[in-house]
Amino acid sequence: MKKRRGGLLLGDEKIALGFLMPNLIGVAIFVVFPVVFSLAMAFTNWDLTQHNQFSENSVRFVGLDNFVDLVSEGQFLRFLGNTLFIMMGIPVGIAGSLGAAMLLTHDARPGRRSLAFVLAGIGLVLGVVCMVLAGAPSAGVTILIGGVFCTVLGFGLLGGRTLYRTLFYTPHFVAGVSTFILWKKLYNPQDGPINAGLRPVLGVVESTANTLPGWLVGLLPWVMMLGMAGLTLLGLDRLRRRWADGELGWFAGLMPVAMLHLPWAVALIWTATRGWSGVLLGLLAVVWIVQIAATARAKDRFKTQATEGFGGAMFVAVLTMVGIFIALGMTAVMSGLPAIAAEGLEPPRWLTSIGWAKPALMIMGFWGAIGSNNMLLYLAALTNVSPELYEAADIDGASRLQRFWNVTWPQLAPTTFFILVMSTIGGLQGGFEQARVMTGGGPAGATTTLSYFVFIEGFQTGRLGFAAAVAWGLFALIFGITLINWKFGKKDVSD
């Protein structure tokens, strides 16, 4: 009789181990060993061109030199900046995937009106095909895409949400490289459908800007700056209320507040908006006066721990910061609009423009994020929200927005937290394929992310030690941010 240990027969243990062993050996050889080895590499001067089987030079231990070089050479920080810039699209992507998931929970069964959509779509596509066959210009391609969308809409209405779910998930199961090549074509500055679609719009904007009275055009940057101030006020107000309600400690609130001021700091040094620095500082001062006055007026405040509520506050801050950055960009565009419109508005050069290359990749990432696993996770989470909660909200007379904000959103918090953590990790590690396939990391390094930098240093320059240091620097970042997320975010989610 075999002896039992913890309810498992010893013989069974051996069998289990036997089955696991191939996998364990594989993990040890191909994961654990390389990881440990790369850590050791990061402290050496290993250069592939100098230290290899054909060379007599030996690899030297250089201590922290590679990590010092990370900071002193400047490239690492620059490419980290690129990575973080592209990551600013993550909140928008998460919102997009949530929106898509919510749309896809609704059934879209056909009715007479839907059939009309289908017929109209088919008619449009046929019309465009005829136009293209008859030698219509490149705008035909744009109309063709519009027609395809119409058809998708129509067939989706016929096929119901299953078809829509499949279509929305397409970006995830189409191979990355082919997707990137497709987007490269879409971004073609001369003949790409995106610019073909933008040209007429810009034409209208141009003629409008040129015909509008000067004073009215001059007002537009003011409106945008007011938008910046409004969003900042909103963000600070949310944080202040959390603080007053005892949901946010003073220490945990420091970083979110600082993040809300990041766009303002950028605005003060950016050449496009530097001229407005006086107005910007004035607006910021008004925002603060309002906040201080509101704080002073408040009578009671629930006390809490200094580190309480960091995750939730950061979520609010990041979302608001992205909005303020968008308003800042619009301020720059509006302040230069009269001059640009007088010269003629041209669509962006996208991937070949240093200013547009990163936003172009962000837009593509947004498209990918909508139809990603995040959407599936949200779909699953939405089906788990108890209908009783909605019924209770309905009985209380909640509006659709209130239903979302007070029922759906809190119920989705664990899923959102998971998605946020995974997206942050993915964002920090991302950008390699796009850089390799679409831009080569250019123009002038504008789309070189940290993962692509590791590749360049390791395989093009041959500095294996330095590349390992970059990789471990990246790991430290990911680990640090994930720890912060877990420490502060998870608590919020549980609450």
Partner: protein, 513 residues
């Protein structure tokens, strides 16, 4: 469950055995050598020639088969792949090595074999090729490859386009201003669509040609620092950028993608040139392979001319080499050593001449009518000799320093040029930072390789003397100058003092840091 797992394992074993059984094995007889090279349309001819040549030379085994046969590997020719596979012990037997910069990189990595002695014995030494390419195939007097072909890049002229536009044919020699003036007229007349540019004057001109044209090089005379921290380099950067983005003489990357031309061997530019959308094409004689292919595909033969690239006061052209080096980690090195002997043979040189794959490795073979007047291609007559003339007069090899890899220095140069083109920095800053970072990298290499410090200090002292002499307007002794560009430049300026005895030679200009 166990049964399913066992069935899966059995299926995999049977599948593996079946795959191994049906996989094409090596033919008996000739040993197979792998050659990492490009997929030029004429490469198969060259490979077949190797077999024929072995038979002619009696290099056969007991069964009468050639000792080796070559298989072309066009998928692993990227520099990164060659290095990674080389140090990993799985490099190809014969490695296409481009220009002196790859020779220096691969020899420093140690993946290619020093063939100096076997080259001398086998008749494929440095003396058996063009003088101008010594620095491209040898490092510190040691030879690492023998050319598969030798190129000097000039501007091809689509003469019919100039005639059609009512423009005179471009001059054989021109300066930057003349080039720009003619280019502006060309683009103005060629582009009739006001909304979109469809025709360009030329496809490309490397920045190296331009700064050499004003008397600059990436390294100074002794290779101890960069010579690009110079106002003239800043001007060249501005001019190059204006040709692309302001005057639109040359297409930008987005222009090329917008022109939507199918690409083939040699890129999309030959097709644009063939279609008359480019007036000039910067290339070597090898591009005739593609032009001939167009004719074979039904296009009309082009009316061709050849002119020098423009200069800023100093006429120069860049010679380039694609050579065959032998992998040091290969199993069949002895057999691979036969290959460069084939490259030096009359059979191979004639193949290069007939297939128009640039210039043959040995210059003695170009002294024939079959080279200057190929009977099947009368439209090319008059276009072949200028390449030989350029090789013998204006062609200069690369500039190399023993203290930094040229590929590293050029990466730095290109980085700041890209930042200037993108509007991130001004031209002066780009020039200054290029030189600074190259010098910083040199200092780091000196720390890494302290044994090169003595040589560096000695050269720095020489450099100081050179600068003193230049300031005084005195000629520089030739042996003081390691950079072949400056030897030629000062000779043209009347500032070179020829000496008897050893001159240091181009091969002394840059070994391994």
């Amino acid at each position: 469950m166990r049964l399913i797992i066992l069935l899966c394992i059995a299926f995999m074993i049977v599948g593996g055995l079946a795959t191994a059984w049906t996989a094409p094995g090596e033919e008996e007889g000739s040993t197979q050598l792998f050659w990492v090279t490009d997929l030029s349309p004429v490469r198969i001819e060259h490979v077949d020639g190797f077999t024929r040549w072995q038979l002619e030379q009696g290099l056969i085994d007991d069964q009468g088969k050639p000792l080796a046969k070559v298989k072309v590997d066009p998928n692993n020719g990227d520099q990164d792949k060659i290095v990674i596979q080389g140090v990993g012990g799985v490099g190809a037997d014969i490695i296409d090595t481009r220009w002196g910069r790859q020779v220096r990189l691969f020899s420093r990595v140690g993946i290619i074999k020093d063939i100096t002695s076997i080259a001398r014995e086998g008749g494929f030494s440095v003396a058996d090729t063009w003088d101008a390419i010594e620095s491209e195939i040898a490092v510190d007097g040691r030879q690492y490859m023998y050319p598969c072909n030798v190129a000097v890049r000039l501007f091809w002229v689509n003469q019919a386009v100039f005639d059609k536009l009512g423009l005179e044919q471009p001059p054989a020699v021109w300066d930057f201003d003349t080039f720009e003036r003619i280019g502006l007229e060309f683009t103005k007349r060629a582009n009739t669509n006001p909304d979109r540019q469809t025709h360009f004057f030329f496809d490309q001109l490397p920045i190296e040609n331009m700064y050499r044209g004003v008397g600059l090089s990436i390294f100074n005379e002794t290779g101890t620092a960069s010579a690009l921290n110079n106002e003239l380099y800043a001007e060249v950067l501005q001019r190059h950028k204006s040709w692309v983005y302001d005057l639109h003489l040359m297409p930008s990357p987005e222009d090329i993608s917008a022109l939507q031309v199918t690409s083939g061997w040699g890129g999309s530019s030959p097709r644009l040139f063939n279609e008359g959308r480019l007036g000039l094409l910067y290339s070597g004689r090898y591009i005739l392979i593609q032009f001939r292919q167009f004719v074979n595909d039904g296009a009309e033969p082009l009316q061709l001319g050849v002119v020098e690239p423009p200069h800023g006061g100093f006429r120069n052209t860049r010679t380039t080499v694609r050579g065959a080096a032998i992998y040091r980690g290969g199993k069949n090195q002895a057999l691979a050593e036969i290959f460069p002997r084939y490259l030096a043979s009359k059979l191979y040189n004639q193949l290069i001449i007939d297939s128009a794959d640039a210039l043959p490795p040995n210059p003695k073979f170009v002294q024939s009518r079959s080279f200057t007047h190929p009977p099947d291609w009368p439209n090319e007559w008059g276009c072949h000799q200028p390449f030989v003339d350029a090789m013998e007069t204006t062609a200069i090899g690369g500039s190399y320093s023993p203290f930094i890899l040229t590929s590293d220095a050029e990466r730095i140069r290109d980085r700041f040029k890209a930042e200037f083109d993108a509007g991130l920095i001004d031209a002066q800053t780009a020039a200054r930072r290029t030189a600074e970072l190259i010098e910083l990298r040199i200092q780091r290499n000196l720390e890494e390789f302290p044994e090169t410090r003595a040589e560096y200090d000695s050269r720095v002292a020489t450099q100081q003397k050179i600068e003193e002499r230049l300031a005084a307007g005195q000629p520089i002794p030739e042996s003081w100058i390691n950079n072949p560009f400056f030897r030629r430049y000062y000779a043209a300026q009347g500032l070179l003092l020829k000496e008897d005895g050893p001159t240091g030679g181009p091969s002394g200009q840059g070994g391994d840091p």
